[in-house]
Assembly symmetry: C2
Homo-oligomer: 169 residues x 2
């Protein structure tokens, strides 16, 4: 148990600018490079994330099927992938929560940022960025995940001394 009462965490909307210290937002935004292909039938929003497979790694795609969490939600731990990036793109069209802290030393609760992602926004966690495991909302949600297969240890977890709490939206 934490020695202190949980710290209430503020939820902010997910934007490319606010998320930039942690990676990229994967979204079809007019602000990114895009162009028309397929004889006018398709708009390509191009190269939206810095996908890093890491040393001797290859990029793989998987589906994560997340059980919905309920609010208030207590953030007790964080994890990071020290070798590679990891992207989550919703297939269910539902919003979800993203909790991050800067790469580097293990975070304390005061380092956490919480974003509410729309159902048409993915996120790519840059290599080493601390993040909470998938926080689906509203129902069982599938996400396409783009990450690494390769040798070596690629997941660290840290328990928070003081917890955070996401009260609502």
């Amino acid at each position: 148990m934490s020695a202190h009462a949980p710290l209430p965490l503020t939820v902010e909307p997910l934007t490319r600018e606010a998320f930039a210290p942690f990676g990229e937002v994967v979204e079809a935004s007019d602000a990114v490079r895009h162009f028309t292909i397929n004889a006018g039938n398709t708009e390509r929003y191009h190269d939206l994330a810095n996908i890093e497979p890491g040393p001797d790694g290859r990029v793989i795609v998987s589906i994560f099927r997340g059980q919905p969490r309920s609010l208030p939600f207590t953030v007790q731990m964080m994890e990071r992938h020290p070798l590679a990036s990891q992207a989550f793109v919703p297939m269910s069209g539902r919003p979800y929560l993203v909790v991050v802290a800067p790469a580097g030393a293990p975070p304390g609760v005061e380092d956490l940022k919480v974003f509410l992602a729309r159902g048409d926004q993915g996120v790519n966690y840059a290599t080493g960025v601390w993040h909470h495991p998938l926080l689906a909302l509203e129902g069982v949600c599938d996400f396409l995940v783009v990450d690494r297969s390769g040798p070596g240890h690629n997941c660290d977890e840290v328990q928070l001394d003081r917890h955070g709490v996401i009260e609502g939206r």
Copy 2:
């Protein structure tokens, strides 16, 4: 114009088995390797496609926003990416059509296979597999696309001598 009347094409359901000659179906199926992570909150359907960035390539993610096509739809051309795989995963939850032909010599209409994909199924075209550009249905649909950035020519197109027609579903 084609010298012959278009050949009616049969639409079949997209399954991993039927699509195997052309690549992989990206779906959360009990038939693929999966395991529980995130303290029981997430099921990971693992490494669902053979993502090939090709020589000197890197894997990129983009969003393709496809305009819906209407049926009957006439298939007049096909394309292939000779250097790399290309995966499409729906973000809109809507069904779509997949038209493929085996890698190798440019296809004739009799080589085409047409699949109806569910909105929770992606496809990964293996390197060199002939396919029609994105065929969204029912509305504007976004797809996450996992393909290649790198040097060299990576798109061939072929016009079909005889066209095919997808009559309906």
